[in-house]
């Protein structure tokens, strides 16, 4: 068994954010952050991590908490997917996120993979992206030179595995405003298996309803474009009126024009278009059913 020798041989474990940026001195742009390692290590084995220095941020304890305050939920970037899935706060205030978390990978990888890592890796199939897009999350970051910034998640993904993060910028927290009724949401992941599957299509829907009228709709899809996306035209169609079967049917047609799936080993583009239509209908219907506990 050979270890992946391509790239550098330096390693730094850090216990605080200060140590991170101190450690990066002299290695600016030549360091790779490692959290859970569930993406980085396979990338290493594929020879795709050529950076000289690995910065192990997995022990940054202050970035591993979930809290609720001032009407928003805050998730430390190093919170594991397993923790997101089992968090009472998220199950109550953002159930589409805990639901999506429970579908990522398998129990073993969920114990290591982190929310920050899933977003920073920015696969178009990233499991945490659609629910966070549908809940209009904000990514808080820190940078070596100056202050950190707040990046709205719909400006975060640029293209496959490429994000708005600058060199050596690190996500510290992800926050989302608590939805008016967190139960009026639904998430679906279609994979070739029930576990250990990269999604063929994933869809998250959050609705804000006043009686039967939809005041706000947020619809996000994964694996159907070069990055996780919001379906703005679908949202427009849903907002401002009742959501009857005819409206839902229209949405399932509209979404086909908003996505640009490719054909890959998991599914053809045409299949993805068709199944997105079908699953969008079901997700909207499920979201409508949501009952506040």
């Amino acid at each position: 068994m050979r270890s992946s020798l391509m790239g550098g041989d330096k390693y730094l474990t850090v216990k605080s954010l200060d140590e991170v940026f101190k450690g990066l001195k002299g290695f600016e742009g030549r360091a790779k952050f490692v959290a859970g390692g569930t993406n980085v290590i396979p990338d290493m084995r594929a020879g795709a991590v050529s950076q000289e220095l690995l910065v192990d941020i997995s022990d940054l304890k202050d970035l591993g908490h979930i809290s609720e305050e001032k009407g928003a939920v805050s998730i430390g970037a190093l919170t594991t997917i397993a923790e997101v899935s089992s968090s009472r706060i998220i199950q109550k205030q953002g159930p589409i996120l805990s639901s999506a978390a429970g579908l990522l990978g398998n129990p073993l990888t969920r114990n290591r993979a982190t929310v920050g890592g899933n977003l920073a890796d920015a696969s178009p199939a990233a499991d945490m992206a659609p629910p966070l897009l549908a809940m209009e999350a904000l990514l808080l970051t820190e940078r070596p030179a100056g202050k950190g910034r707040k990046i709205p998640i719909d400006q975060f993904f640029l293209s496959p595995n490429k994000t708005a993060l600058e060199k050596d910028e690190i996500i510290t927290r992800i926050t989302f405003p608590i939805p008016k009724d967190p139960s009026k949401g639904s998430h679906v992941k279609l994979g070739l298996r029930n576990a250990m599957a990269i999604s063929v299509v994933s869809i998250s829907v959050m609705l804000e309803m006043e009686d039967k009228v939809c005041m706000k709709a947020r619809v996000a899809l994964g694996s159907v474009a070069p990055k996780p996306i919001r379906a703005y035209h679908v949202e427009e169609r849903l907002e401002g009126g009742e959501v009857g079967q005819d409206v839902i049917q229209e949405c399932s047609d509209i979404v086909r024009g908003e996505i640009s799936p490719i054909s890959d080993i998991r599914a053809s583009a045409e299949y993805r278009k068709r199944v997105s239509s079908v699953l969008l209908k079901r997700t909207i219907q499920e979201a409508l059913k949501g009952e506040k506990k």
């Binding site: 390693y11 390692g37 398998n106 576990a195």
Partner: protein, 157 residues
């Protein structure tokens, strides 16, 4: 190549090893500590044969850098049961015929054990979800699920 010294508490015993930045916990366990009960199935986290318990959580050893286990506790199958004193899951796996070639078994038991540690009365679907990261090429899985269920029933009585 730069090397680092790590210390890992393996099945209750502190052990030292000299490692490189990119070596994984799996490599260290098998090649430096002789823990051959931890299997290398795919080296990329797709099969679960290398599952170990790191600080109380079941993880893929192949997806953990050796340096990430520095100063931490690792439990493998040998720490869970011995021939003289097997873990109830090990007994159950044998009784239910859940071991054919045996390659996936260590990982299956690690995943099953952490399930039972957190939930002593899981339903069949919870069991299936708990071992959903452990592939088996031989048994068709039914016997494995039965074995874990059997261990749960045995513990209840």
């Amino acid at each position: 190549m730069k090397t680092y010294v790590i210390e890992v508490k393996l099945n209750g015993e502190w052990k030292k090893a000299e490692v490189t930045a990119r070596q994984t916990l799996l490599e260290v366990l098998r090649n430096k500590f002789g823990a051959k009960e931890v299997k290398n199935g795919c080296t990329k986290g797709d099969c679960g044969a290398c599952a170990v318990i790191l600080e109380g959580k079941a993880v893929n050893a192949c997806l953990t850098l050796a340096l990430q286990a520095n100063g931490k506790e690792v439990e493998t199958l040998k720490g869970i049961g011995t021939p003289e004193n097997p873990h109830p899951l090990q007994v159950s796996f044998v009784e239910y015929g859940a071991v054919q070639c045996g390659f996936c078994t260590a990982g299956q038991i690690i995943s099953a054990k952490t399930l039972l540690d957190n939930n002593s009365t899981p339903g069949r679907n919870e069991i299936r979800k708990a071992v959903s990261g452990n592939l088996c090429r031989c048994t068709g899985y039914t016997k494995i699920i039965n074995a874990i269920e059997g261990a749960v029933l045995e513990a209840k009585s």
